[in-house]
């Protein structure tokens, strides 16, 4: 079964693309998810994903490249969230909670103007790996590279920003830059993950691995590594199970991510919480 799966992955291009894309999605979201969870902006992924929907709809309406449009709206979304929270002292969750349905609504309105188009709503919402092209894989690879550069150049800054933004600013950490950088990075990773994970499921990629990793990690570095490993494992296994059992991969991966979480939680409970080591 496994050899058959490996053989198929090697011989069918769409399957190979899907596999690579799934791995790249989980590394990308795994890296950002730690910051998402530590900064308690879990909602941002949801928001960006739904903003993406608005962007895709407008792309279809205007006949523009929809990935470009989606990326554009996601970035606008991230900047708008930062703007409203920083200038007006509103909480991130409130702002995201307002902008999310707004971009969804604008998207649906835009779609209603697109004549003769019946969108693949299921694919958009839950991901459809059959849609993954080589171009998507390259996009994901680029996004991964960008994330790696961002995190290695600004690791300390990201750590201090996530830990205590106010004091970080006091000590001269460029928190505004890190904040915008992180939000834009998250938005772009959501956009590039939408085909695999779908608008609704991408949130799981941005939250669950880091929540599990936080249970084990002693440092931000290890938290990021653990979430990447967990994400990649769940993706590879998820692709395998979905292939042999003929199920949609996105949801299978999400279920596996949650199973990982439960497993880590129970093992930790069993071993007794060694909090003060």
């Amino acid at each position: 079964m496994i050899t058959q799966f490996i053989g198929d992955v090697l011989s069918y291009e769409f399957l190979r693309n899907a596999m690579i894309a799934a791995i790249l999605v989980s590394t990308l979201t795994g890296v950002f998810s730690s910051v998402v969870v530590l900064r308690k902006i879990e909602f941002i992924g949801d928001g960006a994903a739904h903003a993406t929907f608005g962007g895709i709809a407008f792309g279809l309406l205007l006949g523009a490249n929809y990935i470009v449009m989606a990326a554009l709206t996601a970035v606008v979304f991230a900047v708008a969230v930062s703007y409203f929270t920083r200038r007006n002292r509103l909480s991130e969750s409130s702002v995201i909670g307002m902008l999310l349905p707004l971009s969804m609504s604008l998207g649906v309105i835009a779609l209603s103007f697109v004549r003769g188009y019946t969108p693949d709503v299921m694919g958009l919402f839950f991901g459809n790996i059959l849609l993954v092209t080589a171009a998507d894989v390259w996009l994901l690879a680029g996004a991964n590279l960008g994330a790696i550069i961002f995190f290695s150049l600004f690791f300390r800054e990201i750590l201090y920003y996530a830990y205590d933004e106010k004091m970080a600013r006091h000590y001269g950490v460029p928190v505004a830059f890190v904040h915008y950088g992180t939000l834009i990075g998250i938005s772009l990773s959501v956009v590039s993950s939408v085909k695999i994970a779908g608008i609704i499921l991408v949130t799981a990629f941005l939250i669950i691995p880091a929540v599990s990793a936080r249970l084990l990690a002693r440092s931000l570095r290890s938290m990021i590594s653990i979430s990447v490993v967990l994400g990649v494992t769940a993706s590879v296994l998820g692709m395998f199970f979905s292939y042999v059992l003929n199920m949609p991969p996105g949801p299978v991966i999400v279920v596996l991510l949650f199973v990982q979480f439960l497993a880590i939680l129970s093992v930790k409970k069993l071993l007794g919480s060694k909090e003060n080591d």
Binding site: A162, H170, R218, N276
Partner: protein, 247 residues
Amino acid sequence: MERDRVLQVEDLTYKIGSAWILRGVSFSLSRGEFAGIIGPNGAGKTTLIKAIVGDLSDYSGSIKVTGRVGYLPQNPERSRDFPISVREVVAMGLYKENGPFKRFSKSEWNTVDTLLKTTGIEGLGRRRAGTLSGGEYQRLMLARALASNPELLILDEPEAGVDEMGKSSFYRLLEKLKNEKNMGILMVSHDIGMVFEACDTIMCINKTLHCHTSADMISPEQLKSAFSTDLDLFIRSRDHFEREHSV
């Protein structure tokens, strides 16, 4: 004296809407001086501190700071299971000098370890910061504030959560830093007994500066005018004053 001045506040005034938070506050602080700020809740103490450390922008009046500032905020951020080590938190205090695009060098990590020793929490360096006890955490915050080797140390209720024994060793440490490093220290505290014992000068603040005198010169009337809105605190401090000075 003039030359040693690390902080000069002149006619500092701050309003939120139509409410005065601070009004015409003027004072100065020199190196080697340990000043205690007392005043009831809501008196504007933290606001004054924020103005001095640069976290407040729209005030009127002038604030002149000479040299580096170490700052221990009131109720610092504290998340139990945030994956950051005690050493990394202290190193945060070195960030400004170190600058972006770099890593902390070996000698900077040595500085961090020395600071942990100074503040009496050596051996906790590799622990997750969130697992420290309340008092240990305040010491960690002090270590971070000291990291840049400041000429002016500003502390907003540093004794919060520190036990009685811990408190007196905390204040002894501050006095030592004052003497050895010739630091100017400005400390907000509700622990009036300790303030009288440890500080050279005392400032009573309640929107305005009600008194600013050396610790053994202060009168109960001055305390009363500052604390008129907080009788309980006033009575406690008066009792202490009478005990100490047998009025």
